[in-house]
Amino acid sequence: MRVTHQTTTTYALQRLQSRLGQLQKSQEQLASGTRIGKPSDDPAAMNKLLTLRSDEASADQAARNASDGLQRTSIADSHLRTLIDRLHRARELAIRAANTSAPSERNAIATEIRTIGEEAAAIANGNSGGRGLFSGHSDGPAVQQVAGVWTYTGDGGQVRRRVGEGDVVTVNVTGDDVFGFAAGRDVFSVLDDLADRIVTADAAGVQTSIAEVDTSMTNILDGLAKLGAATNRIEAGQIRTDDTRLAVQSEISKVESVDIAEAITDLQLHQVAFEATLGALSRSLQPSLTQFLR
C-alpha cells in the first residue's frame, strides 16, 4: 500500500480521536461513579436498574409505613394497659366496698370509681397527632354520653399499613370492640353502675358489677392481644424490609457502580495509549525528504 502524508495524518488523527474517546469514557465513569449514565450504555442493565430503584423506593415507603404503624400500636397499647391498671383498681375498690358498711367510706370509694370512669373515658378518647386511637376513621371522640347513655361515636374503620410487599397489617382496634359496646355492655356504664350500686349498698349488684368489670378487662385484653400481634407482624415486616433494602441496594451497586480499581486501571491504560499515540504521531509526521535535501 502506498503511503502518503495525507493518509498518515488522517489515520493518526482518527486513531487519536478514538483514543481520546476511550479516555473520556473511562474518565466519565470514574467521575460519576456509575457505569450506566444513559439508557444506551446498557439497555438491559438500565431496565433492571430502574426496576431496582422502584423496588428501593417501595421498600423505603414500607419502612416509613411500618414505623408509623408501630407508633400507633405502641401508643394504643400503653393507653389500654393504663386502662387495665385502672380497672384493677376499680375491682379492688369494689371488693373493699362489698365488705364495708360505713356509708362515708362507700361514698369515698364511689367517688374514686367515678374518677376512674372519667379517666377511662379520657383514655378511650386518647389521640395521637390529632387522630383518635380507638375511633376508627372518624374525626370525633370515640366515646361520649349521648342523652346520658354512653355511646361509641367512632366508626368501624380499620387502619391498615403496608409494611412489606403484599403484607398489610391492621394497626388499630376500635372502641366498639375493646370497650364492650359491641358486646352490649360498655366499660363506662359498668363503672357508673358500680359507683351507683356502692352508694346504694346494693351488695348483689356490686357482685354483678365485679363480674362485669372482669368481662370488660377480658375485652380490653383481647384488644391488647390484637395490638401485640400487629406489633409483632410489623416488626417482622421491618426486618424483612431492611433485608430487602440491603439486597436491593447491593444489587443496584452491582448493576450500576463502577469497579474503581478496574476503572482507574482502564483510565491509566487509555492515558498511556493516548500519550503513545501522540508520541508516535509527532515522530511519524515530522520527517519528510525535504529535510534531507540540500
Binding site: T4, Q6, M46, L50, S54, A57, L289
Partner: protein
C-alpha cells in the same frame, strides 16, 4: 542528419522536464487540497525520426491517477456511514432528553407514589396533601419538558433535512455545470483534471448526503442516479424536494428512496421519532386514565367522589398533560363517603399508591413504571444498536477513504524524487544542447582552415 534536429530533440527533453517540474510543483501545492488527485505527465517518444535514431520525446497526457473502483467503494461506504451516524446522533439526543436513570420520569413517578402513600398514613395532614399535588405537578412538568424537548428536536431535524436537500440540489446543479464545462473544454485527451477533481468532490458529497451513485462517461461527463432514477443527465439536472410526509420527490413525481444523511434523517423522522412520541403519549394516557380512575374510587366528603387528577388534550398527551386538581382538600383519600365521613381513612390514597406495582388498568399486563421502563429500554436499545452500527460503518468508510487516499493522494517524498528526476533530466537536456553547440562550433568555426 541535421545537427539542428538533435537540438530539437534536446529541446523536447527540456520542455518535457519543465512540464514534469511544473506538474510536481502543482501536486505539492495541492498536497492538502480536499479531493485533489495527484497528476503525472505521460511521456512517449516522438514518432517521426528517421531510421534508428529517434527525434525526442513528447508529452501525451497529464493524467489523474484516479481509480473509479476506489471511488465507487468509498461512496457506497460513506453512504451507509453518514446514514447511520446522523441517525445515531439524533437518537442519542432523544435519549439525552430522557434524563434517565437519575433525572427522568421514573424518579418523578416514584416520588408521586411515595407522596400518595405518605398521605395515606396521615390523611388530614395539609402538608402531605400539598406534597401529593406538588409531586403530580413535578411529574407532569417533567413529562411536558420531555415532550417539548422532543418536539423541538423533531423540528430541528426537519429543518436540517430541508437544509440537506437544499445542499443536494446545489450539488446536482454544480455537477451539471461542471459537466457542461468539461464538454466545452473538448476531448478526453486533454481532460481538465482540476475540473474533474471538483466534480468528483461534488459526487463524494452527494454520496454522503443522498447515497447517490454516478457513472462517468467516455467524454468525461458524469451522470448521477438514485435508485435507478436519473438526477443529473446530459440535458440538465432534476432538483429534488420534500413532500408533506418528508418523502423525497423527483420532479417526475416519483418518490425516491434516499440513503446517506438525507435517508438517515428521514428514517429518524418518519420511523423512529413518531414511535417514541407514541410511546410517551401512550404512557401519559395510561397514567391519566389509571390515576383518574382510582381517584374517582375515593371520596373527599360525604357527597363528593374524587374528580380527575390529570388532564390532557387529545392527540398530544405528552405536550399537554397537566394537573387538573387545584385544591388539595379535594384529594379523595377516603375509600367510602360514610356517613359519617371517615376523615382519617387513607385507604384510597393507598389504593392509588398501589399503582406502583399493580397493573395500570386491568388486563394491561404492566404497571405504569413497567410501561415507562419499556419505553426507556426501547430507546436505549435503538440508540445503542444505531451507535454500534454507526461505529462499524464509520470504520469501514475510513478504511475505504484511506485506501483511496493512498492511491490518489500526494506523497511529498515522491514529489521530491520526481522533482529531482526532472531537474536532472532538464540539466542533461541542457548539456545535450551544449554538446550540439560544441559540434556546430567545430563545424562552423574550425572546419576548412587548412592552409590559412
Amino acid at each position: 542528419m541535421s545537427d539542428f534536429v538533435t537540438l530539437r530533440t534536446a529541446l523536447s527533453g527540456l520542455m518535457a522536464a519543465r512540464a514534469g517540474v511544473d506538474t510536481a510543483s502543482h501536486n505539492v501545492a495541492n498536497a492538502a487540497t480536499p479531493g485533489f488527485t495527484r497528476q503525472r505527465i505521460e511521456q512517449s517518444t516522438l514518432i517521426g525520426g528517421r531510421g534508428m535514431i529517434g527525434s525526442g520525446t513528447q508529452i501525451t497526457d497529464i493524467s489523474r491517477t484516479r481509480e473509479q473502483f476506489l471511488d465507487m467503494r468509498l461512496r457506497s461506504a460513506v453512504d451507509l456511514a453518514h446514514h447511520s451516524n446522523v441517525r445515531s446522533a439524533l437518537l442519542s439526543q432523544v435519549e439525552a432528553e430522557l434524563g434517565e436513570p437519575s433525572n427522568g420520569i421514573s424518579t418523578a413517578l416514584s416520588a408521586t407514589w411515595s407522596a400518595f402513600e405518605d398521605l395515606s398514613l396521615d390523611p388530614t395532614n395539609t402538608a402531605a396533601r400539598q406534597n401529593v399535588l406538588s409531586g403530580l405537578e413535578s411529574l407532569t412538568t417533567r413529562i411536558r419538558q420531555l415532550a417539548g424537548g422532543w418536539e423541538l428536536l423533531g423540528s430541528q431535524a426537519t429543518t436540517e433535512l430541508e437544509g440537506a436537500v437544499g445542499q443536494v440540489n446545489e450539488l446536482l446543479a454544480e455537477v451539471h455545470s461542471v459537466n457542461s464545462e468539461i464538454r466545452r473544454s473538448g476531448s478526453l485527451t486533454s481532460a481538465p483534471n482540476d475540473l474533474l477533481d471538483r466534480r468528483d468532490l461534488a459526487l463524494d458529497r452527494l454520496a454522503e448526503l443522498l447515497g447517490a451513485t454516478s457513472i462517468t462517461h467516455d467524454n468525461g461527463t458524469a451522470s448521477v442516479m438514485l435508485g435507478g432514477v436519473s438526477l443529473v443527465h446530459d440535458a440538465g439536472h432534476s432538483p429534488l424536494q420534500l413532500g408533506p410526509g418528508l418523502e423525497l420527490l423527483h420532479p417526475s413525481g416519483a418518490t425516491l428512496q434516499a440513503g446517506g444523511e438525507v435517508g438517515g434523517r428521514q428514517q429518524f423522522l418518519t420511523v423512529d421519532f413518531p414511535g417514541f412520541q407514541a410511546g410517551l403519549d401512550g404512557f401519559v394516557e395510561e397514567l391519566t386514565v389509571s390515576l383518574n380512575t382510582r381517584h374517582a374510587d375515593g371520596w373527599y366528603s360525604e357527597t363528593d367522589p374524587g374528580g380527575p387528577l390529570l388532564s390532557h388534550s387529545a392527540g398530544a398527551a405528552g405536550l399537554t398533560v397537566q394537573v387538573a386538581l387545584a385544591d388539595p382538600e379535594q384529594l379523595a383519600v377516603a375509600s367510602s363517603p360514610g356517613p359519617p365521613f371517615p376523615v382519617h381513612d387513607g385507604a384510597n390514597a393507598e389504593w392509588i399508591a398501589a399503582l406502583r406495582n399493580d397493573e395500570s388498568t386491568p388486563g394491561s399486563g404492566a404497571s405504569l413504571p413497567e410501561a415507562w421502563r419499556a419505553v426507556v429500554t426501547g430507546i436505549g436499545v435503538d440508540t445503542a444498536t444505531a451507535a454500534r452500527f454507526a461505529h462499524t460503518q464509520t470504520d469501514l468508510a475510513q478504511a475505504a477513504g484511506r485506501t483511496r487516499e493512498s492511491a490518489h493522494g500526494v506523497s511529498i517524498d515522491e514529489e521530491m524524487v520526481q522533482l529531482m528526476q526532472y531537474q536532472h533530466a532538464y540539466e542533461a537536456a541542457a548539456r545535450v544542447m551544449t554538446t550540439v553547440d560544441g559540434l556546430l562550433d567545430v563545424l562552423i568555426n574550425r572546419t576548412g582552415l587548412v592552409g590559412r
